[in-house]
């Protein structure tokens, strides 16, 4: 048998039909659904009088535009258009008989946090969702990627996707990370290296000692931003950490079935002599705590660097860099650590898990945030929130001056009331620093949770290593 990559193995196990030109019908094991990209898909099913083919494999949760303040179970406490979308998801979940975690359910949260938490995401699966950060689930060795609404309808109706195979890219992070360097710094540094289109046409497998050393939470952070590098999906081969995380989750297999699953899961790795179309190797020790300065996730620099100038770039990036500098209100040559901020946001499907909250709380413990700063923590799910309260993290945040919110996507994309004002500068643990992403003319600097906490204490972009 010819050697295969992990991606090859998962792909081969899911091809339901292959046409002569290589166009395949790929079978989908898990379909995650949220309120923003699904209403038109369910409407399409209704118009064609089609059922959901596999309601048992379809899981819905409202997350994108739900408020994160108390009382949100009452639609009157949502803006009218948000309430309509959430009500539509309520109705669609009921009418089509799919699994559902409503706003009132303690298990509600960001779809990419809820899926793994509830054991819906398992190694070797195909997982899709009408959301680009579906890449997150790749951390389990599941082939996971975002799809548009037409494809959401296609999966609802047929449980398959029309796909052609992507190419294989290996991103190896060798050795150990230095203190203060996290999964977020890895994933941002990779994008800084490849650019936001560097992964286009590829499925990335992240490997190497520094990746193996990460917890499942950290691996999810790395895979989450594979899409920011343009990749179709990001993958990490499952290992003991993965199996340990999965074991006992509500929807994970139990008993003999778990053992049977394990037998297959243990075969899910890239063969030694597998062929790669592209290989990138980064030394773990070369990665520093990083921050984005511009309006593309590729605009990454170590916190110790200075704001670049447009002249530092080439081609189309010169104009884009100048536009970013103007938008961000930054002067070339300014040390990044001199940049004063207005707001800190900790949360999102990138960094809204328990480990992220622990890392931030560690820095904040017994301290107060800078006067006048707005700071909020939005846990990724109701269960993360509960756990953080039990561990005493919520008290640390509240005593430091953070708002302690309910679960949702919140200020990562600002579809709910959590938004930046014009010109407001935010340090954020989310995944996109696009123009207007967190609010009209808002300015975003992407960082790790520890870096966000450090910035909250000083009111400036800050090297977390100075706080450790």
């Amino acid at each position: 048998m010819s050697p295969k990559t992990l991606y090859d193995k998962i792909w081969d196990a899911h091809v339901a039909h292959e046409a002569e030109d290589g166009t395949c019908l790929l079978y989908i094991d898990r379909h995650l659904v949220h309120e923003v990209t699904s209403p038109q898909a369910f409407e399409g099913l209704r118009m064609a009088n089609r059922p959901v083919r596999a309601p048992d494999k379809t899981i819905a949760v409202p997350d994108h535009n739900v408020p994160t303040t108390p009382g949100r179970e009452d639609p009157k406490n949502m803006t009218e258009d948000s309430a309509i979308q959430v009500a539509a998801l309520d109705k669609n979940a009921k009418d089509f008989g799919i699994h559902y975690y409503p706003v009132s359910d303690v298990r509600q949260g960001i779809v990419h946090i809820v899926g793994p938490e509830q054991g819906w995401t398992l190694p070797g699966m195909t997982v899709v969702c009408g959301d680009s950060h579906t890449a997150t689930h790749g951390a389990f060795g599941a082939l996971a990627h975002g799809i548009g609404t037409s494809e959401v309808e296609h999966v609802l109706a047929t449980q398959t996707l029309i796909q052609k195979k992507s190419k294989n890219m290996k991103v190896e992070i060798t050795g150990k990370l230095r203190p203060g360097v996290t999964a977020k710094d890895i994933t941002l540094s990779v994008i800084g290296e490849t650019g936001t289109a560097g992964g286009t046409g590829y499925v990335i497998e992240y490997c190497g000692e520094a990746i193996r050393d990460l917890s499942m939470e950290g691996r999810m952070t790395v895979c989450n931003m594979a899409i920011e590098g343009g990749a179709h999906a990001g993958l990490i081969a499952p290992d003991e950490k993965t199996f340990e995380y999965v074991k006992g989750r509500p929807h994970a297999p139990k008993g003999a079935q778990f053992e049977a699953a394990m037998e297959w899961w243990k075969t899910l790795y890239s063969d030694d002599d597998a062929q790669w179309d592209k290989v990138i190797t980064i030394k773990g020790e070369d990665i520093a705590p990083v921050v984005t300065w511009g309006t593309s996730p590729e605009d990454v620099l170590p916190i110790t660097a200075n704001v670049p100038s447009a002249d530092d770039f080439e081609g189309g990036k010169v104009g884009a860099a100048q536009r970013s500098l103007d938008y961000m209100g930054l002067t070339p040559g300014t040390p990044l650590s001199d940049i004063e901020i207005d707001t800190v946001f900790i949360g999102s499907c990138t960094n809204g898990r328990i480990e992220d909250l622990r890392a931030a709380a560690e820095i904040l413990k017994g301290k107060k945030i800078k006067d006048g700063l707005r700071a909020m923590v939005v846990p990724g799910s109701g269960l993360v929130r509960l756990q953080a309260e039990e561990e005493g993290l919520a008290d640390i945040f509240k005593e430091a001056g953070f708002e302690w919110r309910l679960a949702g996507c919140s200020m990562c994309l600002a579809m709910n009331p959590d938004q930046l004002a014009e010109g407001e500068r935010c340090v954020s643990t989310s995944n996109r620093n696009f123009e207007g992403r967190q609010g009209y003319k808002g300015r975003t600097h992407l960082v790790s949770p520890g870096m966000a906490a450090a910035a909250a204490l000083t009111g400036k972009l800050t090297d977390v290593r100075e706080m450790m």
């Binding site: 091809v15 039909h17 046409a19 990209t37 494809e151 936001t196 696009f434 207007g436």
Partner: protein, 201 residues
Amino acid sequence: MDKFETLTGIAAPMPLVNIDTDMIIPKQFLKTIKRSGLGANLFDEMRFDRQGNEIADFVLNQDAHREAEILVAGDNFGCGSSREHAPWAIKDFGIRCVISTSFADIFHNNCFKNGILPIALPQEAVDVLMKDAEKGANARMTVDLENQTVITSDGENFSFEVDAFKKHCLLEGLDDIGLTMEKASSIDSFEAQAAQARPWV
């Protein structure tokens, strides 16, 4: 789905690289439960000020490009979120073809589901087309999907690659779900076999 065969129309130049889906259609317009009507908000934050007045130097606000049906853009067009509202807005505005050196994966896919043709060409070709697009209403570009060519107003000709299946669907205006439903027996037998091999799924 609307067919795409040939298109002769005005092209608008947007040389900016990494035009993301938040720029194409900002999130406040994703709160709709419909697919229609988004053209009015295409590129909203680049196109209008906070009072809703047009920003004069934005290309689609210029008389020469107001009626554009083709967009010529910088690298990595459509990066970011999976929102299909982006191609819905583009189509609703009247644009049926986007030309760039590269497209983000999900956006590229979404275009084909909506009768929009994304064309990827080498930098030198995009540079020529960008210059041609700058002529606006004085020049019309032609896109011929059957023959896989883009022809400038001066008659210069560029061939492009397109996936054969996607081309077929666009030319015929075929509905994906209907096509897949024809293969239902393959899905049935896959499902039965997978239930044996991986019963925990």
